[in-house]
């Protein structure tokens, strides 16, 4: 029993963590929190199911195509909802524009894909019980994504440019970094991470349009817990949230577990607005 709570908790926690990283990736280059983060993960599941089950493609091809589609959606978001409002960041128009895009994605998915959860294929067919692939796949995907990001940020020039922009946008631009291209790239990267979250969690969450709104919230909680822009915080926060949620599900039942998660969220926000691990803050005057 405990083992299965931990397995499910870590699995859903890994998905939340990846969505949190998706938020952070978009935030790092644009200072924008986008409501599309959860929708990207939802699309990862829906596209994955569409390519592999509906269209019968091999898993690898379906996976790559899913990531490409999610990256494109990420780039579209940058073009229509982020770039136009960047010049007036202090008015927080991005909240509205990304909310609009998120609602559009969700509604199109509901109408074109259907409002019932649809099956996601078994990807490898390995493991059973608590070692079932649907539990360990998201965890492995999360770990690999983090390793990949660490490599990108520490070992590659592009990654360092990302970090420079995240650290100080103006200085980075003054240094002649192609800020706009890097921003587009980061939105594509966010799309890919969201896609990985949705694809690896497909067997767990199924291909379901309403996952978007759900992951939007549950993916944001780790960001709030871990601190804005802090990927390590998001991972720890995500896994903690997953375990907390499963434990709450088990102890107080399905209805009150969401109340418990929300209460935790508000309490942490009020007690530590910068998150438990610290995050980016801005000078006001």
């Amino acid at each position: 029993m405990l083992a299965s709570i931990i397995a499910a908790g870590l699995a859903s926690g890994a998905i939340y963590a990846l969505v949190g990283v998706t938020y952070n990736t978009m935030f790092s280059t644009s200072r924008v929190m986008s409501f599309t983060a959860g929708q990207l993960a939802m699309l990862g599941g829906v596209f994955g199911s569409m390519f592999t089950l509906k269209l019968g493609m091999p898993v690898v091809a379906g996976f790559l195509l899913t990531l490409v589609c999610c990256a494109i959606i990420g780039i579209i978001t940058e073009f229509i909802a982020v770039r136009p409002v960047l010049k007036s960041l202090d008015q927080h128009l991005y909240v509205l524009s990304t909310l609009a895009v998120a609602l559009m994605i969700q509604q199109v998915a509901a109408i074109k894909w259907g409002t019932e959860p649809q099956p996601f294929p078994r990807l490898i067919g390995l493991g059973s019980g608590i070692w079932d692939e649907k539990f360990w796949l998201p965890v492995v995907a999360c770990a690999l994504t983090i390793l990949g990001l660490e490599y990108l940020y520490r070992r590659t020039l592009v990654g360092r440019a990302f970090l420079a922009i995240a650290e100080d946008n103006f200085a980075a631009r003054a240094l002649g970094l192609p800020e706009r291209n890097l921003r587009i790239a980061s939105y594509a990267l966010a799309g890919i991470i969201g896609g990985i979250a949705g694809f690896s969690g497909g067997e767990l969450l199924l291909a379901f349009f309403a996952n978007g709104a759900l992951l939007n919230f549950y993916g944001f909680v780790p960001v709030a817990l871990g601190g804005l822009g802090n990927n390590r915080g998001a991972i720890v926060g995500g896994l903690a949230l997953g375990l907390f949620q499963q434990a709450a599900n088990f102890l107080v039942g399905g209805i009150f577990s969401s109340v418990a998660v929300f209460t935790l969220f508000i309490v942490v926000l009020l007690a530590a607005p910068q998150g438990l691990f610290g995050g980016a803050s801005a000078r006001r005057v």
Partner: protein, 398 residues
Amino acid sequence: MVISRRGVLFGSAGALGAASFSFPAPAIAGSEPIRIGCLAAITGPASAPTQGFNRGVNFAVDAINGAGGVKGRKIELVMRDTQGDPSKAVNATQELISQQKVHAIWGPLNSGEALATTPIMARAKIPNIHPCVVETLIDTSKFPNAFRMAPSNSQWDDAVRNYCLNILKVRKLAVIGDTTGYGVTAVGASVAAFKKDGAEVVYQANIDATQPDMTPDMLRMKNAGTEAIVVWTVSTGMEALMFNVRAAMNWDVPFVGHPSLSSGEIAGLVEKPENWKKVYAIGYKSCSYDGSGKLPPRSEELVARLTKGNIALNDTLLWWVAGGIDVIELFAKAIEVSGSTDAQGIIAHLNTLNKYPGYFGDYTFTPAQHNGYPTDEVVMSEASTAKNGTFALAPGYS
């Protein structure tokens, strides 16, 4: 105008009624179309039943109009998509009544919608037939205009309980539902009824439908000694997960409950087809086939007619289509017999029906009882045996 053998049966009565009541009516009333409003979630979640009902409704209207209409009056449908949103349903109801001036209303199915629209229809005294399962919607003193042509929740409950206690002969039950309004209510009612009948409810829970893993709940059920799991949810994803977990646990406990257990989507969601065995969903005698694959004669006739009319059944349920046809025929007959589209006349006629033979079942209404569907028609069917919208009768029925 003969659209079925029952048309012949009531044809003469209708003619009589016409002769005696509608004579003084102005000529124009004779050709003015009969307007029937339809309130249903055509799009959005939970729109699958509507798609099925609509096939029946349209089929019946086409058939009646093709045969010349009801005493020369064509039937006109006014469809309103409520999307399962009670606010939209309230708006649409009032619009049908005040703006479209419909003569009768069919629907809605969704409980939140029906609860909100029923008092509005009662205020306007508009004849209403609906398939919504909520018990309180039938109250002949508050809503003398509202009739239910489908089983109520307690009738579903009765059938499930009957099957568990008398046919499966189990005493220890787990009752679970999702966290929606329906799930919470249904679980509460079901648990109370089981306890009243002396059964032991060893586990009771409302589970979040998006819960990724059902193992802990299933383990608890098993440890509590559950002999059958009663399920009240419309979430097919959650149901499929439970079937998969049951297989993984090597447990052969039967699932009994909500019709969605037999939903076609589950086929894609279960890991192996065998996982879907030993699952018994609520069904209806009229839409269940026996060991030899035969439906009851009246239903065989209906399927033949539908096949001829190119109405697909493989992606819907026969009872939805049959129910849709029955509703239109009930209204048409009431107008024919009472001789006009006057609301009181339609209601008065519906109140006289005794074992009126519809395709879905035999309906009986009296001024004091508007639950028209017979309980003994509600049976369990094998969930994974869908064939053209019908199911195999669950084992144990004679």
